[in-house]
C-alpha cells in the first residue's frame, strides 16, 4: 500500500533529483575534500557550490553557513556558542513552545546554573511580546525563538523580534527547521544572528543540518576537531548530503510559490472539509499566521493514538499531539502552553503536507476520517452525540 504521507513536519521524502545529485558522491567522487590531490580536492569545489545554493535560499552569504549533522546539533551549537562567547551573562530567554532540541537544552542549562525565561503564548499560540520585553536584561546572553512551530505551524513575528533584540544588543537565534523551504527567508533584511535548519525537512536526507552565523558574531565551536568549516565544526564533511541539501535548496526555492498557493489550498481544503464533516473538530493555532502546509485539528472526546492507528489501516500517515503516542502521559507541551482544553488536546492530529501531496489524497482522507472519528466516539463514554457536553 502506498502511504498517504501527511507527516512532512516529521520528515520528508528525499526528492528524486536530490538522490540523483548525491549518488556520484558515494560511487565516483568519494575523495576527502581536505585532500591535496585533485581527486579529493575537487569535491571541495562542489561543496562550495552547494553552500552557495543553500545561502541563496536564505539570503545569506556562503561563509555564513556551517554544516552540522542535524537541526538539534545546530540548535545546541548556537546556544552554547552564545554562552561561551559571553561567559559573564547567565540568562537565556526562549518560548514555552520550542522543539525539544531547545526546550530540553534550556532545562538542562537551568540545572547547571543558568536563569531561563520561558515566554508564554496565548490560546492561539501567539507569543506574549509584553512578557518577553519585560524579561530582557543586561544579563541575557541569547534569545532563542522558533520561526514556525512544528506542531501547529504558527509563525512567530521574527522581524519584530529581531528588531527588539538587536536594539538591546541581545543575540538572536531562531530554530527555523520548519520554516526553511516553506516561507520566504531573507537574512539580509532581518537582524537574526543565528538560524538553525535541517535537511530532511526540505527533501534532503536525514543526517545533514546547517547553522547560519551572521558575519561578525562571536563564535565558539561545539564539535572541536579538525579545520573543517573554518574550524567552526570539526569532522569530515558529509559530502553527499551537503550536495543533496544544495540540490534540495534549489528545488524548494523553485517551489516556494507552489507551496504558498497549491499546497496551501490543499491544506485548506483538507481542514475545512474535515471541520465541516466532523462535529466538535477545532483547528489549533493562529490560522492567520501559519505555515502553508500544516494543520493541527482537535477532535474532541477521542484519543489521538487511536485515531492514528485507525488511519494507519488505510495507509494514512499523520501525527498526534496526544500523550499516548509519545509514551509520556500528558499531551504535548505546545498544546498545554496554549491552554488547549484536555477534551481537545488528547484528540489532536497534525497533518503536514509537501509538494508531493495530491488532491485525490486529500479527498481520500476526507472520506476515511469522519467514520473513524464517529466510530471512536460511539466507543467513548464522554460522547453524548454532538451536543458537546460531557
Amino acid at each position: 500500500m502506498n502511504p498517504l504521507y501527511f507527516d512532512n513536519n516529521a520528515t520528508t521524502r528525499v526528492a528524486p533529483e536530490v538522490v540523483e545529485a548525491m549518488l556520484p558522491y558515494f560511487t565516483e567522487y568519494y575523495g576527502n575534500p581536505s585532500s591535496m590531490h585533485t581527486f579529493g580536492g575537487s569535491v571541495a569545489a562542489q561543496i562550495n557550490d552547494a553552500r552557495a545554493k543553500l545561502s541563496d535560499l536564505l539570503g545569506a552569504s556562503p561563509d555564513e553557513i556551517l554544516y552540522t549533522s542535524c537541526g538539534t546539533e545546530s540548535d545546541s551549537t548556537a546556544i552554547m556558542a552564545a554562552l561561551r562567547s559571553n561567559p559573564d551573562k547567565k540568562h537565556v530567554i526562549t518560548s514555552r513552545v520550542e522543539h525539544p532540541a531547545i526546550k530540553n537544552l534550556c532545562e538542562y542549562l537551568a540545572k547547571i546554573g543558568y536563569r531561563i525565561s520561558f515566554v508564554p503564548v496565548d490560546h492561539k499560540g501567539r507569543l506574549d511580546m509584553e512578557y518577553l520585553i519585560r524579561h530582557l536584561t543586561d544579563d541575557t546572553a541569547i534569545a532563542s525563538f522558533m520561526w514556525a512551530n512544528n506542531e501547529t505551524g504558527v509563525i512567530f513575528p521574527i522581524d519584530e523580534l529581531a528588531e527588539i533584540l538587536s536594539e538591546r544588543g541581545i543575540l538572536f537565534h531562531t530554530d527555523a527547521v520548519q520554516a526553511v523551504g516553506k516561507v520566504p527567508i531573507d537574512l539580509k533584511k532581518t537582524r537574526i544572528d543565528m538560524l538553525s535548519l535541517s535537511g530532511h525537512k526540505l527533501h534532503a536526507p536525514k543526517g545533514i543540518g546547517a547553522l547560519y552565523v551572521r558575519k561578525g558574531t562571536k563564535f565558539s565551536p561545539f564539535l572541536i576537531g579538525g579545520h573543517q568549516e573554518k574550524g567552526r565544526r570539526g569532522g569530515t564533511e558529509n559530502v553527499a548530503s551537503i550536495i543533496g541539501l544544495g540540490k534540495a535548496s534549489e528545488i524548494v526555492a523553485a517551489h516556494m510559490a507552489e507551496e504558498n498557493s497549491r499546497i496551501k489550498a490543499l491544506r485548506n481544503k483538507l481542514e475545512t472539509q474535515l471541520v465541516q464533516k466532523i462535529p466538535n473538530a477545532l483547528v489549533n493555532g493562529d490560522t492567520a499566521n501559519r505555515l502553508p502546509n500544516t494543520s493541527s485539528i482537535a477532535f474532541e472526546f477521542v484519543e489521538g493514538e487511536s485515531i492514528l492507528l485507525m488511519m494507519n489501516e488505510f495507509g494514512i500517515c499523520a501525527s498526534s499531539g496526544s500523550a499516548c503516542t509519545s509514551g509520556s502521559l500528558e499531551p504535548s507541551h505546545v498544546l498545554r502552553a496554549m491552554g488547549v482544553p484536555f477534551t481537545a488536546a488528547h484528540g489532536t492530529i497534525r497533518f503536514s503536507l509537501s509538494i508531493y501531496n495530491t488532491e485525490s489524497e486529500v479527498d481520500l482522507i476526507v472520506e476515511k476520517l469522519p467514520p473513524i472519528i464517529e466510530r471512536l466516539r460511539t466507543m467513548s463514554p464522554f460522547w453524548k452525540g454532538g451536543c458537546g457536553c460531557s
Binding site: E303, G304, S322, A323, C324, T325, L329, M379, P381
Partner: protein, 276 residues
C-alpha cells in the same frame, strides 16, 4: 510506533462488547478526560451470580480499548467470585502482553471491574480513598501502594507505567519512593517471621533480592553484581562494572549488599567476594 501484539491490534480494531447495558447489575466508572483515558464497565448477572453480559465504553489509546474489550470477554460466563480474582496482570496476559508504558491500561480495567462489583454489592464506595500523592493524575497513596505490592514494583518509573503517578510534573517522586520503600520494608517482617527457610527458598530469596534490590542500585553507578554460589549462609558474589575496580567495593559489599540480604533474607548471611 508501539509494539502491540496481534491480539491487542485485533481487540482494538474489532473491539468486542462495546456499548451500554440497560438496567445493569454493576457499573464501574474510572479515569477522566483530563487523564487521557477513561472506562465505563457494565455487567448483567443471571440468577446464579454468573456474568451473562458485559459491555464497555472507553476513551483512550489502542491499548486502553483493547484492555477493555479483553476484560469483557474474560468476564462473560464467569461467576462474580471468579471475576473478583482477575488482576491487571491477567488482562495484560490475555492480550499477549502490553508495552510496559501501557500497563496502566490493564490497571484501569481491573479498577473498573472492582468498582462495578462494589456497585453491585451495594456497599457504598469503599472509603479507602487515601491521600492524593500525584496531583497531575489524582493518584492516591493507597493506589500506589497497591500497585507496588501486587506487581512487585521497585522503581518510580514502574509506578508511573502502572498507575501514571509521577508522570506529570514529577513533584511527587520523593513521596512515591517513600511508598515503595515502605512497602518493601513492610514485607521484611513477614519474611523474617518464617524462620525455617528451606535451602531452595533461601537461594531464591537471595536471587530475588539481588535482582530487584541490589542490582538496580549498583547499576545506577555503573556497577553490577553476579551471584556465584550459596553454601549455608555464605553468599559468594562477584562484583562487575565500575564496582569491580572501585576501591570502596568492600564497603559496598559489607554495608550495602550484606546489610540488604540480612535485612530481607536472614540475619545470618555472610557475603564473600570471589575474585578470579
Amino acid at each position: 510506533m508501539w509494539e502491540y501484539t496481534d491480539k491487542v491490534k485485533d481487540h482494538f480494531l474489532n473491539p468486542r462488547n462495546v456499548g451500554e447495558i440497560e438496567n445493569p447489575d454493576g457499573v464501574g466508572e474510572v479515569g477522566s478526560l483530563a487523564c487521557g483515558d477513561a472506562l465505563t464497565l457494565y455487567f448483567k448477572l443471571d440468577d446464579h451470580e454468573r456474568i451473562k453480559d458485559a459491555k464497555f465504553k472507553t476513551f483512550g489509546c489502542a491499548s486502553a480499548i483493547a484492555s477493555s474489550s479483553a476484560l469483557t470477554e474474560m468476564l462473560i460466563g464467569k461467576t462474580l467470585k471468579e471475576a473478583e480474582t482477575i488482576t491487571n496482570e491477567n488482562i495484560a496476559d490475555y492480550l499477549g502482553g502490553l508495552p510496559k508504558e501501557k500497563m496502566h491500561c490493564s490497571v484501569m480495567g481491573r479498577d473498573a471491574l472492582e468498582k462495578a462489583i462494589t456497585c453491585y454489592r451495594g456497599s457504598a464506595e469503599k472509603k479507602v480513598e487515601g491521600n492524593i500523592v500525584c496531583e497531575c493524575f489524582g493518584v492516591t497513596d493507597i493506589q500506589i501502594e497497591r500497585a507496588v505490592r501486587e506487581n512487585h514494583l521497585t522503581t518510580i518509573e514502574q509506578v508511573t507505567d502502572y498507575v501514571k503517578a509521577g508522570g506529570g510534573c514529577g513533584n511527587c517522586h520523593e513521596k512515591i519512593q517513600e511508598i515503595i520503600n515502605t512497602v518493601l520494608g513492610k514485607e521484611t517482617p513477614a519474611r523474617k517471621k518464617s524462620p525455617a527457610l528451606t535451602n531452595l527458598q533461601k537461594i531464591k530469596l537471595i536471587e530475588q533480592t539481588l535482582e530487584r534490590e541490589i542490582k538496580p542500585a549498583l547499576n545506577k553507578d555503573g556497577g553490577d553484581i553476579e551471584l556465584i554460589d550459596v553454601s549455608g549462609n555464605i553468599v559468594q558474589v562477584r562484583l562487575r562494572g565500575t564496582c569491580a575496580t572501585c576501591k570502596k567495593s568492600q564497603i559496598t559489599l559489607k554495608n550495602y549488599v550484606e546489610a540488604k540480604l540480612r535485612e530481607l533474607v536472614t540475619p545470618e548471611i555472610m557475603v564473600e567476594e570471589v575474585t578470579l
